[in-house]
Symmetry: C2
Subunit: 194 residues, 2 copies
């Protein structure tokens, strides 16, 4: 197996396990076992567990970006329809996990944000990218006259990202997607100003 | 020192350290040292670290309840003014922590929600109590005709709790209280429907 494939296998297994159990609570051996990669090979690919964690954030950010690109750039879902179809996809995903997991970036922020500055900066960037994508979508929505004219688009995009992160926290507490359904209802009412 | 005082000292030290570093990342010895309580006495007061964690959630919930009671029941801050003064107090608190710490209940939910059902249920209850307090405040606001008449109060209270939790996640990522300021601006615009 090529070096790059093995590296990706470790990242994918780590993403899955750390999304579920948290960063500090997951051991390197556990990740290697799940990735079916020989013990001891971890440091061939990553300088440290922290270094690996930073690459995981890149991985999660790229996943999010691809979901936003697909929904926001599709001719079938212009403007606010794209935002709605993005959140509908996530709602569907979390229905299948019974409200577990939540946002991997939000989870890592809660866990690592205060104790590791490098992590924090990387997580901040990932959330800023999500905000930028959503702001772009809102700009299209405004040009299509779909939005309350009194809303500042940058602040509104921040509010959406943040409220979404919080809806996922509550979902984890309730083991129910009800917070996501309320988020959807309230945010679109807010955006339309009606 | 009475048994009850020692117990409280351990809880207060644990609350402080775990709020900062997380549950799995904090050792019992570290808590006892900060509490200035002899090593080995932990299990005299608590059955296990998990048992201690559940009591911490009770402690955090009681703190939140006392803040809500003070703001929501004061004749100086009726209706939405009470909600605003509660969030202003927290904004002030997080200004002093440079955007660190976040919500202890939200942090524990992210960290423990999926891996410990007892924790999850206890955290769900704490968030439900916060929602109930805020819903009571919104009911007063409605009776004073301060709110958009089209909003469902139960769902709106949930949305406020969840969006607040998310604003605190983003705050930790940014090391800035800006997300709390945007939360304040957006939520009160939303509540007033204007």
């Amino acid at each position: 197996m090529a070096k790059r494939d093995t590296r990706l296998k470790i990242i994918e297994a780590g993403a899955r396990i750390i999304h579920e159990k948290g960063f500090n609570n997951t051991g390197i051996q556990e990740i290697l076992k799940a990735a079916e990669v020989p013990k001891g090979s971890f440091y061939f690919y990553f300088k440290s567990k922290d270094d690996f964690g930073l690459e995981l954030v890149d991985y999660f950010q790229a996943l999010m970006q691809s979901r936003m690109d697909e929904h926001f750039n599709s001719p079938a879902t212009p403007g606010l329809k794209g935002l709605k179809s993005l959140f509908d996809e996530f709602l569907d995903f979390f229905r299948h996990t019974d409200g577990r997991l939540g946002c991997p970036v939000g989870n890592l922020t809660q866990e690592m944000g205060d104790i590791n500055p490098q992590f924090r900066q990387r997580l901040e960037m990932a959330l800023n990218e999500m905000k930028a994508g959503i702001q772009g979508c809102l700009e299209t929505a405004r040009s299509r006259d779909e939005m309350d004219a009194s809303l500042d688009l940058s602040e509104t995009a921040d509010f959406i990202v943040n409220s979404w992160e919080g809806a996922l926290v509550r979902m984890k507490a309730m083991k129910s997607v009800e917070p996501l359904i309320i988020f959807d209802k309230m945010i679109f009412k807010f955006l339309k100003g009606a």
